[in-house]
């Protein structure tokens, strides 16, 4: 935890990354409101104002932390996608893709609530292609969802007229459940039950979209 090596040089060397790492740690534990600039500098054993050489404000630091969180989310979804086979039967493949995205999203929300809340705490533009938001496939969570929906379309499970804006409909459902469970009235519901609801939810989307 504590940076073992006491800095002997005047320069820190990697302060920006150190601050983001500390911020991410705080976000993980307490969500966006827990990302506190002074604490980050404290952990880096640096004066508070040193942060201002790398971030214009604590909001800017939080921005960087948020990107890191979104990237972790993308990674979680990718992992879920990776679990399904190569997809010889198109319709099955498409259905499993959609399910993987939805459940990967929910599972991340349940296991990393702080990061999840941070990821969505402040409006980043959907279409902004921030490389920091992606994982190994180079796609952000939204784009991974689009991918799954395209598979639905290609396999004939989704009609062309229903494809438009389907991202938003699907996204709304899992995002809503995640937030109700994390910082909403369902926060006392056990995670397994939330995930079970998630399964029903994804099924509902599958049936309801077309």
């Amino acid at each position: 935890m504590a940076n073992a090596k006491k800095r002997k040089t005047f320069r820190h060397g990697d302060l920006r990354n150190a601050l983001v790492a500390s911020g991410l740690k705080m976000a993980r534990v307490g969500g966006p409101d827990a990302v506190i600039l002074r604490e980050a500098t404290r952990q880096a054993e640096v004066s508070p104002n040193a942060a201002y050489r790398h971030f214009a404000s604590q909001a800017a630091l939080l921005d960087a932390v948020r990107s890191a969180c979104i990237s972790k989310l993308a990674a979680a979804i990718e992992e879920e996608l990776g679990k399904i086979g190569p997809g010889r039967v198109p319709k099955l493949f498409a259905r499993r893709s959609l399910r993987a995205v939805g459940m990967g999203y929910l599972r991340f929300a349940m296991s990393e609530p702080g990061m999840f809340r941070t990821a969505f705490s402040i409006p980043p533009s959907v279409h902004e292609q921030n490389p920091a938001n992606t994982a190994s496939m180079g796609l952000n969570p939204f784009q991974l969802l689009s991918l799954a929906l395209d598979r639905m379309l290609d396999s004939g499970l989704l009609k062309k007229k229903d494809r438009q804006d389907a991202e938003y409909l699907a996204w709304s459902t899992v995002h809503g459940l995640a937030l109700l469970a994390l910082e909403g009235p369902l926060n006392e519901m056990p995670h397994e039950r939330v995930l079970a609801l998630g399964e029903r939810l994804v099924s509902m989307v599958e049936r309801g979209l077309s």
Copy 2:
């Protein structure tokens, strides 16, 4: 805005309500984070610590403000429910009820983002029957949704086996869309378009639930 009558008595007389009213005003403009205790006391022309005679902490004040927000949401949903007729045709009535609840919810979120965000900023228990959360029908938003779903069940639109926990599924969808639009990546989407998506979403729920 400014309380015209300068208090001549030592006692304020109605400080608790004044603080909640100020808090509500702040929440309306800036969401939960804008509810600032000292500012509330300032508006009431009272010393900061006077608040502590009525609230144990600023979190307690925020709690009261949140309840007020939830109550406003319930009122908005009730209004939407009131617009549909007395319901001679059961299935039509049920469908319209569900739609009214969903769209009332979304419309409130779009027109009163600050209050909406405040309403869901911190976990209140679902089942706690706080009278402060209800409007004229004595039902909180969740219970209004249950009512609509019961109408679906009674009219035969929903099978008994699908009725269980259907609240959570339906709620997730509109809640998710609302938050994506308010403080999520869809915050640049025009409100009319969000509401249009909402219509599709409610249809999806209707088809997907059963």
